[in-house]
């Protein structure tokens, strides 16, 4: 049964992609209907799959020499992420019915959305490193295609290529890790790597571990690869919600979590993960403080929250990290989709031009506030529990300086979250934008996500039970939701964190009048430039192009020089032979 359901969660969206690719753009109703039908079918299959989760490999297809076997393992980690991908995917598709109304090239749009959903499910379910990489790259391809969806806009094209190149560079780390695994163990199977990690020589294992860390950092837009995610915001907003907030960017965290038991023995690895998480969480929180573009601000906050998850893994809080991943996926998708509704209605992404929109779109305001409170970490919303859990683990097992940093980050999160909400929905109207509230399809998906934001934490107990039962290498303790709430309720870390969060909220409340009118300072420019990392990216690009220009001079088009090339090569070969003999 599990095998059939796995076939469904990958096959249904891909079949849908195939069919939608063949549909005609003249008939958008059909396209919307088909996309919604396929994605919802995938969503239900993924939910059904949860009940068939096990640590056993469900599908095993041999692919011939050097390619290992294509295997799928529906363990707890995999099925929960599959469910996130498929369910939030279907909600994003439902949202798109309103959001993408009247857009051209819907068939291309839905094809890639559905292709992505299937690939994401494949990525997390895959039990083979080769096919994990395979799906990993397909998700990058879809992400690229969707960021560049409005490809008459050079910014969208540039953002897409930037995302593609950076994630691919990181992907080389995964590739190297997978290849080293195969060449030392003779297999691509994830379970084999986890089982026999101890038998791999320490330095080889370190290569694998750090290779995967690079891949994870690039995919999850962590420091120092964090520059692509803000530029990816040129994508249609449902895509930002689905790919760049709720699912694909989690793949990096997933990778680290998946292999944590194998890599934790590598000296320095856990600390590196902690630092990557910490630095990412802090610098992007800084950037979010001053961002003026609604979607970019949310993107910064995504990187920052992903930083929390990475940090949690670094300090050993596997469950806390995955729990935060779940709640973040839900409330960040909610925030993005709500922001999408605002942008769709207002026609701008600039928060300085908004203000007091809440009166005109009360539904969107309400759900956005709900999501924002979850992001800020206020009880009893889902974000509160997972963030407190992370900080608690950090205080208990992690270095204290990292904990202090993350605590500071929690304060800043509260600050910028309130700032965004205030600038968009409250205060006085700075421009007379005539907006309307969200459409029906939008309301459906926003409402469901809002319900999720209120309630997913109730699943914490079954979540940990699932992990405990199906992840033999991770040694997860099973805790019921009640035990968990008690634990958080009585931990001193909770009150420290809550104080900091309130401090952040309070500080913004005092400066709220200046928030919109503030003049741009040096700091704003710096932070918009990712503190120099965008400059670095541009330098790399321009150096590459300059180098290429220099090389172009070598192609003179003059036959005599071409012959010089031949004779020169002969000389080099002769010298090489004499030298090596």
């Amino acid at each position: 049964m599990a095998a059939i359901l796995i076939g469904f969660v990958i096959g249904i969206p891909w079949l849908g992609a195939l069919i939608l690719w063949r549909t005609n753009d003249e008939n958008p109703r059909l396209q919307h209907t088909l996309a919604v039908a396929f994605s919802i079918a995938a969503g239900f299959s993924s939910l059904a799959l949860i009940f068939f989760s096990s640590a056993q490999t469900a599908v095993d297809i041999p692919m011939g020499a050097f390619f290992g076997s294509l295997t799928f393992t529906p363990d707890g980690l995999a099925v929960s992420l599959t469910a996130i991908a498929c369910v939030i995917g279907s909600l994003a598709v439902v949202f798109s019915v309103d959001y993408m109304k009247g857009e051209a090239q819907l068939s291309r749009y839905y094809t890639f959305v559905l292709l992505f959903i299937g690939a994401m499910a494949g990525l997390v379910l895959s039990g083979s490193l080769l096919f994990m990489f395979f799906f990993w790259e397909i998700t990058a391809l879809c992400s690229y295609a969707l960021i560049s969806f409005y490809n008459d806009d050079p910014k969208a094209v540039a953002g897409g290529i930037k995302a593609l190149i950076i994630t691919q560079v990181g992907g080389v780390g995964l590739l190297a890790g997978a290849l080293i695994t195969y060449s030392t163990l003779g297999t691509y199977q994830v379970s084999d790597l986890l089982e026999s990690a101890g038998t791999i020589p320490a330095n080889v294992l370190a290569f694998i571990a750090f290779g995967f860390l690079i891949a994870a950092a690039a995919k999850s837009a962590q420091f120092p690869f964090h520059t692509w995610l803000p530029d990816a915001m040129e994508a249609p907003t449902p895509i930002s919600a689905l790919i760049h907030a709720a699912t694909m960017v989690n793949a990096g965290v997933y990778l680290l979590a998946r292999f944590y038991p194998a890599f934790v023995q590598v000296p320095g690895w856990a600390l590196s993960v902690t630092i990557v998480g910490l630095v990412s969480a802090l610098i992007t929180a800084f950037m979010a403080l001053t961002a003026t573009d609604l979607k970019r601000a949310l993107a910064y906050s995504t990187v920052s929250q992903l930083g929390y998850m990475v940090y949690a893994i670094g300090v050993g809080g596997f469950f806390a990290s995955q729990f935060h991943l779940l709640s973040h996926a839900v409330f960040k998708a909610l925030l993005f989709l709500a922001a999408g509704a605002v942008i769709h209605a207002a026609g701008t992404r600039d928060m300085r031009r908004m203000g007091a929109l809440g009166k005109q779109m009360p539904f969107v305001r309400n759900v956005f506030v709900l999501g924002a409170l979850a992001l800020a970490g206020l009880p009893i919303l889902s974000g509160f529990w997972s963030k407190e859990l992370i900080l608690e683990v950090g205080l208990a097992d992690g270095p204290i300086w990292a904990y202090v940093g993350m605590l500071l980050g929690a304060g800043m999160t509260a600050f910028y979250t309130l700032r965004i909400t205030w600038l968009v929905f409250f205060g006085e109207a700075r421009e007379s934008l005539h907006v309307h509230d969200a459409g029906f399809a939008m309301k459906v998906s926003l409402g469901l996500l809002a319900a999720g934001t209120l309630s997913t934490w109730l699943l914490a107990g079954s979540f940990s039970g699932l992990f405990h039962a199906t992840l033999p290498f991770h040694s997860i303790h099973e805790l019921s939701t009640l035990e968990l709430t008690e634990e958080i309720f009585f931990a001193p870390a909770t009150y420290i964190a809550l104080t900091v969060v309130c401090l952040g909220l309070g500080i913004f409340w005092m400066v709220r009048k200046q928030a919109a009118a503030r003049k741009e300072a040096q700091f704003d420019i710096l932070s918009r430039e990712s503190f120099g990392f965008d400059w670095l990216n541009r330098q790399v690009t321009s150096i590459t192009f300059k180098f290429a220009s220099v090389l172009q001079e070598t192609q003179t088009g003059k036959l005599n020089w071409n012959v010089v090339g031949i004779l020169g090569a002969l000389l080099v070969v002769l010298v090489f032979l004499l030298w090596s003999a």
Binding site: T556, G557, L559, N560, V563
Partner: protein
């Protein structure tokens, strides 16, 4: 110094090759490039016969040398036909002017 006569032939071959390659580098006229290629072919023909003789297989060396002469004459003819077309269409045989394709 070994005064085996075949050494002298080898010197001749290397010299012809050297002149040929030098010619390929400094000649700017297309017809002359074809001409210089013929010089190289002559060097090769001598080298093949020399190799055959040196290894005691003169018949083999001769046979392939004869084949090479014919084959490379065909190449020269095609090259000349191309050169004629170049002269007609581009209007020059100067290699420095036949360089629109670059970069």
């Amino acid at each position: 110094m070994n005064f085996d006569p075949l050494n002298a032939v080898l010197i001749g071959v290397v010299l012809l090759l050297a002149v040929g390659f030098y010619g390929l580098l400094i000649t700017r006229n297309l017809i002359k490039i074809v001409l210089v290629l013929q010089v190289l072919v002559k060097a090769v023909v001598i080298a093949l016969v020399l190799a055959g003789k040196d290894s005691g297989n003169l018949g083999l060396g001769q046979s392939i040398a004869a084949t090479v002469i014919v084959a490379d004459t065909v190449v020269a003819v095609v090259a000349l036909a191309l050169a004629v077309q170049v002269r007609i269409r581009i209007g020059t045989l100067d290699l420095s002017k036949i360089s629109s394709l670059r970069g």
